[in-house]
């Protein structure tokens, strides 16, 4: 009977708490540290950085974080899986290696690099050979926006990461590997799970889903009994403690805040869920209606019973393309009649935009404190006569920059030539922002060739 394997979540997204990974590797025993950096918009941001400087295109704050942790990782033999490589995993690995050498870790560290997910340079060839990369939501072929594509990445699964671990990598840096694959790979590696052990792969995928958003599984952003969740200032990020049979516990380090409970883990399971019977990854199709949860100790939830089905022959592709421009501006109106004043300002502004003959794809108004999050339902629940203040938030979107630019100049005048009791414009004119939109598609698995390199520092 092999001892359990402990995989700690260190980052749930790029920008997550910088203290969390360090606390995970120093707060108690762990075997692997998993860090998820990539969201849909992240790849296009990184691609832009790379196009300006070919040595960039990865999550830069991964470097100081790794330098801080490497001595501990080396001493405690903790391995790392992270998709911090973005659109340039090789450059990211080279920079981490340089940091390791500065720390005197020569020949003590192997870095694995997983790439092959980046399809940007292959797009014309793929489209030419009949891969339409149709938008999963609209059905349109990618050629419709081909000239505006900024980045294109296939989602790779766990197996290339497994290969890097098998070849001795201590730190595996990847491009667009799925969030769940970063957790599943160490489990496959540690327990030698077979490629067709669908239930086990599904179990590891569920484990990955639970911890991929960091503290969202251990008390963060948790609605149920939220006021009684202890010490979020010191929140412990979740750890998967897995057995070879696919059963695992979600735990956290002792003397940390937060809570691991069945209701809390359930909240994370349903987060971003589609059809629960078919949670599709490159590695398997997991059935979330088979998951059993049990509270088996304080801050310890056991997950068992997970069933899976064979993986499909497709990979998801995330394409980012230039869409247009948007800008959002705000003004704050005070009691009395705060809402009525904000509404009047919105009407006046819209009339002026119309008078200027500006063409927008959308103009969107919200009254914060009234309807921004709950729409009509919020408005129905509010007694507008007593509201001390309301923030008018108005946004526009257009394919061209000029109308959006002009809109940004129409807010400030309202302070002196619109309804009274207005403030909160200290930030100045809003800035037009480029919109890079997301185009989800599928591609045949066989045309994507993951690449694995392992280099000694």
């Amino acid at each position: 009977m092999r001892s359990p394997v402990r995989i700690a979540a260190g980052q749930g997204f790029w920008g997550d708490w910088l203290e969390a990974p360090y606390r995970q590797v120093t707060g108690g025993p762990v075997d692997y540290l998993m860090m998820d950096y990539l969201a849909e918009v992240t790849m296009s941001i990184l691609q832009k950085q790379k196009s300006r400087d070919p040595s960039l295109g990865y999550a830069k704050d991964f470097l100081p974080l790794m330098e801080r942790m490497l001595p501990v990782l080396a001493e405690r033999r903790i391995k790392v899986t992270a998709n911090a490589g973005g659109v340039n995993p090789r450059a990211c690995a080279a920079a981490v290696a340089e940091g390791a050498r500065r720390l005197g870790l020569q020949s003590k560290l192997k870095i694995g690099v997983v790439s092959g997910d980046d399809l940007l340079d292959r797009l014309n060839g793929l489209i030419g050979r009949g891969h339409d990369l149709r938008n999963l939501d609209t059905g349109r072929p990618l050629r419709d926006v081909r000239d505006r594509v900024v980045s294109a990445n296939a989602y790779l699964g766990a197996w290339p990461v497994v290969e890097a671990l098998r070849r001795g990598a201590d730190v595996v840096i990847t491009g667009r590997v799925t969030d769940t694959g970063l957790t599943l790979a160490p489990l496959i590696h540690a327990f030698d799970w077979r490629a067709d052990a669908w239930d086990l792969l599904a179990a590891g995928t569920v484990a990955g889903h639970i911890i991929e958003c960091g503290a969202q599984a251990s008390g963060g952003n948790c609605l149920v009994d939220w006021q009684s969740i202890p010490d979020l200032a010191n929140v412990g990020y979740p750890i998967v403690e897995a057995s070879a049979d696919g059963t695992f516990d979600i735990v956290k380090h002792p003397r940390t805040g937060g809570r691991i409970s069945v209701p809390g883990v359930t909240e994370q399971l349903v987060y971003e869920m589609g059809d629960p019977r078919e949670y599709i990854t490159p590695d398997c199709v997991a059935d979330f209606t088979t998951i059993d949860l049990a509270q088996v100790g304080k801050d310890r939830v056991r997950v068992s019973g997970v069933k899976g089905k064979p993986a499909t022959d497709k990979l998801k592709v995330s394409v980012a393309y230039f869409y247009g421009y948007k800008a959002v501006g705000t003004l704050v109106y005070a009691w009395p009649d705060a809402l009525q004043k904000a509404e009047a300002a919105d009407r006046i502004l819209r009339e002026r935009l119309k008078g200027l003959g500006l063409a927008f794809e959308a103009i969107h108004t919200e009254f914060l404190g009234v309807d921004a999050t709950h729409g009509r339902l919020g408005r129905e629940a509010v007694d507008s006569a007593t509201l001390p203040e309301v923030q008018l938030r108005i946004g526009v979107r257009a394919r061209e920059q000029a109308p959006v630019e002009r809109f940004t100049r129409e807010l400030a005048p309202l302070i002196l030539n619109g309804p009274p009791s207005v403030t909160g414009f200290a930030g100045g004119r809003p800035k037009p922002e480029e919109i890079v939109a997301y185009w989800p598609a599928l591609i045949d698995k066989q045309v994507v060739k993951p690449m694995v390199e392992v280099v000694e520092v």
Binding site: P263, E272, T289, T373, A437, Y438
Partner: protein, 105 residues
């Protein structure tokens, strides 16, 4: 008697493109059948009338005592395109908890 879902369930939501998902979880096993019976896709579509442009799908997870709703066309295009504060549907879940259902005494 009528009770708000807030008293009977908790929820979390997220996004996939222009679709928001709302996972609704019974606070006690005895509430789950009430959710299944009364919080139908049609009822949820009426609840969010004027706030979403597409259809509502519902999936059942009896093992987790949860229902998952997909609200299509909920996010003004979603992601980076959306002009909404809640462009990623993070708090759509809480708006569902305003719904009232009938609970036996």
């Amino acid at each position: 008697m009528k009770k708000r879902l807030l008293e009977l369930a908790h929820a979390r939501s997220g996004d996939k493109g222009d679709t928001a998902n709302v996972g609704l979880i019974a606070k006690h096993p005895k509430y789950y059948p009430l959710l299944v019976k009364q919080v139908t896709a049609a009822r949820v579509a009426r609840h969010f009338k004027g706030m979403i442009t597409g259809k509502v799908e519902r999936f059942e997870l009896p093992n987790l005592r949860a229902l998952n709703f997909l609200l299509h066309g909920a996010l003004d295009g979603g992601g980076t395109i959306s002009l909404k504060t809640d462009a990623q549907g993070k708090v759509f879940s809480t708006a569902l908890l305003r719904m009232e259902i009938e609970v036996p005494k």
